[in-house]
């Protein structure tokens, strides 16, 4: 026995079995205890609760929602809300980050100073504090009766009211798709060299197809327009309340705004790092070939910098997506808040925690998959060295 314990291979096998076994035993014990405790409270484990109605309501949803809807539908609402908030925050943060990052790399000292001040301030204050701040700021805005007005939008303590087109839902969705196509198709065309040979000049086709898609969108909007109403529905005061337009709730604007500002400061640093990674030699080579500064930027610096920053950017996007869970701080029904509320109401703790983990795993994995695709595409493009 003693000599067996002195054997390296036996030791290794024992160690591994002990490690994995004790972890598994801990998890198992926790689950058993939890099931017993929950059973004592009259909660039976299982996923039946998913199909029961929730009995409570959400304050923000892109999908139709009532208190009679089943729990699984609410989880879906939560995921859609998270993705919507995340994507909005992500896009805004990227815009902010790109502008600030470019300012930080610019040759102008004042612009650099401005960019640096921005990054130093907003990066060093916790995101949740910024969320609280913007939320407090918005909810302390004047009531609808004394709303601030700008460009047809109304700023009130109950949210931001923006004009919306008076167009049927299907037509609006189709028009949006057409607009996306108007942007995506020319881009795709530009990246597919073999296709454009038989049709002549690439830029002509790109322009033509974009214009065609936009025209489509315009026709769709005109056709789908609701009868007897102006094309745009402006929010306006009626009695004590605001009617018309689209209300963006303060929770959403505070979160999206804070994520944009905070995330922007991080993305600005990534952008700056990306441009710093582009060697001076490549730029000088391009300049010496007689390319204009603009073409050097768009065709040499930008593509190279983009490739350098993409992997870090991917991590940052995953982080921003996870930051949407701060919704619970101001009462925005994101996926995590739905999870917390479901636990409170149904008591199905273990199952719901399982769903929470699965949900975030799915979000993370799909984001990673998307970025891997982009990474590959860009790497290919870099090899071909085209415009």
């Amino acid at each position: 026995m003693v000599s067996l314990l002195r054997n390296q291979k036996v030791r290794n096998a024992l160690l591994q079995a002990l490690y994995v076994g004790s972890l598994a035993a801990t998890v198992l014990a926790c689950v058993m205890i939890a099931r017993r405790n929950l059973a004592e409270q009259g909660i039976t484990s299982g996923f039946d609760f998913l199909f029961k109605s929730t009995g409570w309501d959400v304050n923000f949803s892109l999908l139709p929602a009532t208190a009679n809807d089943p729990n699984w539908w609410f989880f879906l609402i939560g995921i859609v809300n998270t993705l919507f908030l995340g994507t909005t925050g992500l896009v805004l943060a990227t815009i902010v980050g790109t502008i600030v990052g470019l300012a930080r790399t610019s040759s102008n000292e004042l612009a650099r100073l401005l960019g640096r001040t921005y990054v130093d301030i907003f990066r060093n204050i916790p995101l949740i504090l910024q969320v609280f701040f913007w939320y407090a700021l918005i909810t302390h805005l004047p009531t609808p009766r004394a709303a601030h007005e700008a460009f047809g939008m109304l700023l009130t303590s109950r949210g931001l009211y923006v004009p919306v087109p008076n167009v049927g839902g299907t037509a609006l969705a189709a028009a949006m798709l057409a607009v996306i196509a108007a942007i995506a198709f020319p881009v795709w065309l530009g990246r597919t060299p073999r296709l454009n040979q038989p049709f002549g000049e690439r830029s002509t086709i790109q322009l033509a197809s974009a214009a065609g898609a936009l025209a489509c969108a315009a026709i769709l909007l005109a056709v789908g327009r609701l009868p007897d109403l102006p094309l745009l529905d402006f929010p306006a005061l009626q009695g004590l309340n605001l009617k018309g337009g689209l209300r963006i709730p303060p929770e959403f604007s505070a979160l999206a705004g804070a994520i944009a500002i905070y995330g922007g400061s991080y993305i600005a640093e990534i952008v700056r790092g990306g441009f710093k990674a582009v060697g001076k030699g490549q730029m000088e080579a391009a300049l010496s070939l007689g390319l204009s500064p603009w073409r050097v930027f768009t065709q040499v610096r930008l593509p190279l910098a983009l490739r350098a920053m993409l992997p870090i950017l991917a991590n940052q996007y995953v982080w921003l997506m996870k930051a949407t869970t701060m919704g619970i701080a101001v009462g925005f029904t994101d996926f995590f808040m739905i999870v917390a509320l479901t636990i409170n109401h149904s008591g199905q703790t273990l199952e719901v925690i399982g769903i929470l983990m699965a949900g975030f795993l799915a979000i993370n994995l799909s984001l990673a998959a998307v970025f891997n695709r982009i990474n590959k595409a860009i790497a290919l493009k870099g090899n071909q060295l085209r415009g």
Partner: protein, 359 residues
């Protein structure tokens, strides 16, 4: 096209200014835009925060609300609740001293003289111990104050420090387990690390605060505060473990072989050869992780702790200071900024110094 002047004839002040900011039309435009933005912000900010602001409490909230600028009186009236929460008023000097001990501890651990495993452990052990004794009392004639009465900045610092204190050794353990030669150990650990990293911190805090009591026997549950600290330490360690592992990968394999050839045991090799070098490699990333972790400490407000954000909300939320939320948030933001900015500047300085050292 830009015209590059070779060796300009000793520019005067004006020419220098012109060259730096107004060399081309684009530059001029950029400079003017930047200047306008800066002037506007600086002026508005100064006007709000200084010129039109009220600093004294003499007028009370009413006079303050009437002022055009900031109402700093709210800070003067409520700073104690923001910094110390609901800690007994006449004992708050202990809370202040406890905060000081944590700050001193942090400053000490930024000095290279303390960068050995034993010394850093000593500094952190002593700092945290001092904090705990001061806050909790019950000894040396200090009246007892339970954790439920801790709050404000003091609680924030406590959660941060204990998170690091538990999370750091845990991170090293996880990193060692993940690079183990034994496949089942490294794979299982990898699964744990990646799993924790894929979850948002809030969900982990929530699980530890609210769900865990269901899954633990009564005698293991402990105080909610310590459960949340454990959760936050777990999250910290999952990230820090990857940083430590990166640092270990930077140590050449020959180092461990040499140690092995000298007859050192596994723990001697890890403790004397691998970790000292790995930690040095990982230092800038580690400080960055500390910075992130300090900012994320603020999330415990969501699971119901009276840390600095919650105490800030309370400071303006009740009664006559309801209007002064911007000032309160600005004050808290400033506190965070001081901590986080100095720590991240220090990290950047270290990174530069180490980059030079490599050359």
């Amino acid at each position: 096209m830009e015209i590059v002047v070779v060796a300009p004839p000793a520019p005067g002040r004006l020419e220098d200014l012109k060259r730096r900011f107004f060399a081309t039309p684009l530059q001029t435009l950029l400079s003017l835009i930047s200047l306008t933005i800066m002037a506007l912000i600086v002026w508005k900010l100064l006007d709000w925060a200084v010129f039109s602001a009220v600093f004294t409490t003499t007028g009370g909230p009413e006079a303050c609300q009437a002022a055009a600028g900031a109402c700093w009186s709210v800070i003067a009236a409520r700073w104690r609740i923001i910094l110390f929460g609901l800690y007994p008023f006449e004992e708050q000097w202990r809370s202040a001293l406890a905060c000081v001990s944590v700050v001193v501890m942090t400053v000490l651990s930024c000095m290279p003289a303390f960068w050995t495993g034993r010394r850093i452990a000593l500094v952190w052990g002593a700092g945290t111990g001092l904090y705990y004794v001061l806050m909790k009392g019950g000894v040396l004639g200090l009246p007892y104050v339970g954790e439920e009465a801790w709050g404000g900045l003091a609680l924030t610092l406590f959660i941060f420090v204990t998170t690091c204190l538990i999370g750091f050794p845990l991170a090293i353990c996880l990193a060692l387990l993940r690079r183990s030669d034994l496949p089942w150990i490294s794979r299982t650990t990898g699964l744990i690390i990646d799993g924790v990293r894929s979850l948002p911190l809030i969900s982990i805090l929530f699980t530890f605060a609210v769900v865990l009591p269901f899954a633990l026997p009564q005698w293991l549950q402990g105080d909610k505060l310590y459960r949340v600290i454990l959760g936050s330490a777990l999250f910290f360690s999952a990230y820090q473990a990857e940083i430590v592992r990166g640092g270990m990968q930077g140590v050449p394999a020959g180092q461990e072989e040499a140690a092995m050839a000298l007859g050192m045991s596994y723990w001697q090799r890890i403790g004397r050869i691998l970790l000292p070098q790995a930690m040095r490699n990982a230092l800038p990333a580690t400080i960055n992780q500390f910075v992130i972790s300090f900012k994320e400490t603020s999330l415990v407000v969501i699971v119901g702790f009276f840390e600095i954000l919650a105490s800030g909300n309370a400071a303006y939320g009740t009664g006559e200071w309801r209007f002064a939320y911007v000032e309160v948030y600005a004050f808290i933001a400033f506190i965070y900024f001081v901590f986080v900015f100095s720590l991240s500047r220090y990290g950047a300085y270290l990174e530069r110094r180490m980059a030079v050292g490599e050359r």
